[in-house]
């Protein structure tokens, strides 16, 4: 039971931060199918940073670990400029732009990882190795039955994510900028009439989604494989999109969606282990989170409503 909670959280939280990135972009009116590419590029930047500074820090130092998240956020934000410029300045179709950003990101990171490894570090590899992330346990609280598992063996990034989630929630729902952002997605004409630059608000929102996805990607790089390799593109960006649509483009319901997803996933794993079943049965168990999501959606999706101006180019002359 404890393992279900521990593993479930370590999958759900990175997914959540990516999904929140998506929420920022989509609530501002920019469809963001590019999450997969953004998280990959973020993880690539973080991985490159760790590989490049390998000699600078002491081997046991935790500094590169924490700095890599910062770099990943920067990398994700940098790459999201591509999506923002295509959608806002070059008036590209937002779905098309998202797909393009994903393709370019996969191609670019794969190419650069191999090339940089060969040219700079002199090895034929398509990976950047990372250090193993430490796992923390809070002494007394972790002894509480069931609930204690939340405080056992967690990754430091889970704390970072929770802090970020709280900040993002505050920014989106309690600040002037958050209000502008939500207005840009629902009624950009009204926002424009109030004297706010819609393009600027949307641009910032896409940058934000890039940064948050980058952090999420870096978390997956640490928790799933302890390296950066093209295997980072395993579809978590699309899962995050599913989660945010499931969560009706709101942060807290999306949080719930991610938790359901993470726990269903780790519970399925543990079930297979407990039954001591054959590896092929694991495949059947692995469909649990996806089936649960579909079933839940069948019950709850009726009232779902996307932001009104989502996917539309802002045209000043339109009524």
């Amino acid at each position: 039971m404890n393992t279900i909670i521990i593993d479930g959280l370590s999958f759900a939280l990175p997914l959540l931060i990516i999904a929140i990135g998506g929420i920022y972009s989509e609530r501002s009116g920019i469809t963001n199918l590019a999450l997969e590419g953004l998280l990959g590029f973020g993880a690539f930047s973080g991985g490159l940073f760790v590989a490049a500074t390998a000699g600078v820090f002491a081997p046991t130092s935790q500094v590169p670990l924490y700095l890599s998240f910062l770099v990943a956020a920067g990398g994700g934000a940098l790459f999201s400029i591509l999506h923002a410029v295509l959608c806002i300045k070059f008036r590209a179709d937002q779905v098309i732009s998202g797909v393009v950003v994903n393709i370019v990101s996969i191609a670019l990171t794969g190419f650069f990882t191999s090339t940089i490894n060969a040219a700079v570090f002199g090895q034929a590899s398509n990976k950047f190795m990372l250090s193993t992330s430490p796992r923390l346990t809070i002494p007394l609280i972790s002894k509480i039955p069931l609930l204690g598992a939340v405080f056992t063996n967690f990754y430091p990034f889970e704390v970072i994510i929770l802090v970020l989630v709280a900040l993002c929630w505050y920014l989106l729902y309690r600040t002037r900028y958050g209000l502008h952002l939500r207005a840009a997605g629902d009624n950009p004409q009204a926002l424009d009439a109030a004297g706010i630059d819609v393009a600027r608000v949307r641009f910032k929102a896409v940058l934000m989604s890039g940064a948050l996805s980058g952090v999420g990607g870096m978390c997956f790089a640490y928790s799933i494989s302890t390296n950066f390799s093209p295997a980072i593109y395993f579809g978590s960006g699309y899962l995050a999109i599913a989660a945010l649509i499931f969560g009706n483009w709101k942060i807290m319901p999306t949080f719930a969606a991610c938790l359901i997803f993470g726990f269903a996933r780790s519970a399925a794993y543990q079930l297979v282990l407990a039954l001591n079943a054959d590896a092929s049965v694991a495949d059947l168990a692995m469909i649990t989170p996806y089936v649960i999501t579909l079933l839940l959606l069948a019950f709850f999706a009726k009232t779902n409503r996307s932001p009104r101006a989502l996917g539309e180019l802002y045209d000043k002359s339109k009524r």
């Binding site: 199918l33 591509l82 295509l86 300045k89 070059f90 008036r91 590209a92 179709d93 779905v95 098309i96 732009s97 797909v99 393009v100 393709i103 370019v104 996969i106 191609a107 670019l108 794969g110 190419f111 191999s114 090339t115 040219a119 579809g235 699309y238 899962l239 999109i241 599913a242 649509i245 499931f246 590896a279 092929s280 049965v281 495949d283 059947l284 692995m286 469909i287 996806y290 089936v291 999501t293 579909l294 959606l297 069948a298 999706a301 009726k302 779902n304």
Partner: protein, 392 residues
């Protein structure tokens, strides 16, 4: 004004609206080739050499030497082998996009229909006269059912098609992996057992003009499908209903179109095409299924459809371009030493530039109309203005 001269010349080069469907993609391809050349130069290789080996690998031009009985024609047919499922898949994405839907589940629908056709026909000993049409039929029916399911989920439960298709992709992938691993595994290759040659949609090892090659049977069908889909969308009532719903679902409903039904039909057609892509892929160029893996054709087809301007006939050209790049890249990396990833980078770059096509169009309109003294009329009749420019 003199400073703007070269820009205007360039704008006129891109032509008026009638030719822009060809000049703007051509310009995008040119831009991306230039950008990639710079990257290849930076890693110290000759870009011209890289591009020519790319073409040679896809069979457009001759390689320096060949194994016995093979020629550039063999490579060319290999490329067409990959082209066939790609065109079907791109058409699947196109039909959905034209109807305002995004079918991201092409890969899953391909896998499902390919798997069912393999199990039902590929492992039987039916004669090829019965087996081959049956495979095609299964592809269409299974694909259409999977596609229509997504349409139904959206219509009945308001589940976004992107979400349901991603979920179903994973479900198909895992369930089929389970069945392959428990029942149909080949212990040596760790893939599903080979489908019988009589069920394959491909004639292998035939001699055409003294050259050993093979012929993908689906090729003709794929080209017919492209024309058929064009006809459906442009000339029929159903096509009008689909595109009208795609352009504006609300006004389509006011016009009396049953949008819910249209939605299911659109996803059904899209799924049927994806199913055909699946059988021409899994029973065509490859003969077995790797458990737990979706083919990249499904996702590449999104890019191909977009590059083809989501026009059924444009898809033929873009599929040809993309399959040339992907099937030539192995030869390029082995002869010139440029990494294979360059091919997907070229694809990405082409898409990147063509995504800006709409903006470019607008820019050309502005640049050409600036020559007229009356600037105010530009926004009123851009079409006639650029037309007059051409005649002048």
């Amino acid at each position: 004004m003199t400073k703007k001269k070269p820009l205007q010349l360039f704008a006129r080069l891109l032509g008026n609206e009638r030719w822009q469907f060809i000049t703007i993609p051509a310009f995008s391809i040119l831009c991306s080739l230039v950008a990639i050349s710079v990257i290849i130069l930076l890693i110290g290789k000759n870009p011209l050499e890289a591009f020519s080996s790319l073409l040679a690998g896809a069979g457009w031009i001759a390689k320096s030497n060949y194994a016995g009985g093979k020629a550039a024609f063999t490579d060319f047919m290999d490329m067409l082998d990959a082209f066939t499922p790609m065109l079907f898949a791109a058409l699947a994405v196109t039909v959905a996009l034209k109807s305002g839907l995004f079918n991201i589940g092409v890969a899953g629908q391909m896998l499902l229909s390919g798997f069912i056709a393999t199990v039902a026909v590929g492992y039987s000993d039916l004669p090829s006269v019965v087996a081959r049409p049956l495979v095609l039929l299964i592809g269409i029916v299974v694909g259409a059912a999977a596609g229509a399911l997504m349409g139904w989920l959206k219509d009945r439960f308001n589940i976004h098609e992107v979400v349901s298709s991603i979920m179903l992709n994973y479900i198909f992938q895992y369930v089929i992996s389970f069945f392959i691993k428990t029942r149909y595994i080949d212990p040596v290759s760790r893939q599903s057992r080979m489908a019988a040659a009589s069920a394959r949609l491909e004639i292998t090892d035939i001699k055409i003009a003294g050259v050993t090659t093979h012929f993908p049977l689906g090729l003709v069908l794929a080209l017919i499908a492209a024309i058929g889909i064009w006809f459906l969308l442009a000339k029929t009532k159903t096509g009008l209903e689909l595109t009208a719903t795609g352009l504006n679902a609300k006004s389509a409903r006011y016009a009396g179109i049953r949008t819910g039904r249209t939605l299911i039909i659109a996803m059904g057609i899209s799924g049927a095409l994806a199913g055909l892509a699946g059988v021409t892929y899994y029973l065509g160029s490859v003969r077995s299924i790797i458990p737990g893996e979706l083919t990249s054709v499904g996702f590449d087809s999104i890019a191909v459809a977009l590059l083809g301007n989501t026009h059924p006939l444009g898809n033929i050209a873009s599929s040809l371009l993309i399959t040339t790049l992907t099937s030539g890249s192995t030869y390029m990396s082995s002869t010139v030493g440029v990494r294979q990833e360059i091919a997907s980078l070229i694809v990405g770059m082409i898409l990147l530039f063509s995504a800006c096509g709409g903006y470019l169009k607008l820019w050309v309109q502005r640049a050409t109309s600036e020559q007229l003294p009356d600037k105010g009329s530009e926004s009123v009749h851009p079409r006639t203005i650029s037309g007059q420019e051409e005649q002048a």
